[in-house]
Symmetry: C2
DNA sequence: CGTCTATTTGAATGTACTCAAAAGCGGTGG
DNA sequence: CCACCGCTTTTGAGTACATTCAAATAGACG
């Protein structure tokens, strides 16, 4: 079964007709490694589902340093949620970390979907709730765990990415420099 | 106007009848300073609106150190969202930091409300979205800002609490020790 | 007034960072 | 096929930021 359909079916059940209608609103795209889908100042107009490959969401601070906020391997959703919810320009960059296939659902078509098939409201509500819970957990982890422990959490959360991503991206995600991260790994 | 009604009216408009029905589902409570409303392992069954006073949500790590995750001064909502959404035991403690008056809406009555007056779904959806956006911002801030800058963010976010809360609670929120925080303040 | 808690101050320590340089690795073109 | 280039990772020395522990001081509350 299509990964996106499987993802949706975890929370709601669709008839064949609804499934077809849903996919008629979704746009599929192939994107090569290291392509930027969204940047600082853009208005985020799509929810992105990753069918193959991997994307990362990051910010760039005033010293010019990148900070990875989230990763989206196959089967995950990604977007600049601030921008998507408010319609205002966001601060997130979204980029592929490998050759990828993504499925895009625009805010506009999402609204249409909600009108036609209300149970999708439930689906996206649950998606939002899950994202909130996991973000809150990250705030807690950043306040209470050591770099080592934050790395273990990363491994639990993204097992498929441990040997996929450049170390510097993992370092940035857990909030340490690549140099420190390298030393940390060699000690454990 | 009642603070809770004002809070709701920012996003949806209620008829007098709907307003009355809503308040019939809400339970109001006075709580003295330093009372625990929820602790580690509890299942969170209510969304809490703070009418007067202030609450804090915190975790306790395995070294026994408290970490303030969120504050809720008058006009704010608070809950252990993980537990509230999933129905499982949470890890958050919620405690009053001053004599307070809170208004409780149980998960159960919230469901009832959604059945009777669907526009409340919209209201709580927006509340969830806002919470997500602000949590994501906190993740970003914790990765990119210095302790000094995180303190400034705290001041923007909770202006009413700057001279209200014990410093150690602010220190814990921004993720430094009380001693370091004290030195930081005296230098600026 | 006395007790309890919060805050300040100082010294010693540790964790993580910066900067610099070397080594490793992967892809590309000759 | 291999040599080179660019990027990532490693290693080391010196430094900065933040912590721990201890003790003194200040405030709040009964």
């Amino acid at each position: 079964m299509e990964a996106l359909l499987a993802n949706i079916s975890r929370y709601i059940t669709l008839t064949p007709g609804e499934t077809e209608r849903f996919f008629s609103l979704v746009e599929e795209k192939k994107i090569r490694k290291k392509q930027l889908l969204l940047q600082d100042g853009d208005i985020c107009k799509h929810s992105i589902f990753v069918k193959q490959g991997c994307l990362r969401g990051y910010t760039i601070d005033k010293q010019g340093t990148e900070h990875n906020i989230t990763f989206a391997p196959a089967g995950w959703w990604i977007a600049d949620l601030y921008s998507l919810f408010t319609g205002k320009p966001g601060q997130l960059f979204i980029e592929t970390t490998s050759d990828s296939v993504v499925q895009l659902l625009s805010r506009e078509k999402q609204e249409q979907l909600f009108q036609e098939i209300p149970k999708f409201e439930r689906f996206f509500r649950i998606l939002t709730e899950n994202a909130l819970v996991s973000n809150q957990q990250r705030v807690i982890d950043n306040l209470s765990l050591s770099a080592q422990e934050r790395y273990l959490k990363f491994c639990e959360r993204y097992p498929s990415l441990i040997n996929e991503l450049p170390q510097k991206h993992i370092a940035s995600f857990i909030g340490v420099t690549p140099e420190f991260f390298s030393k940390m790994l060699s000690k454990s």
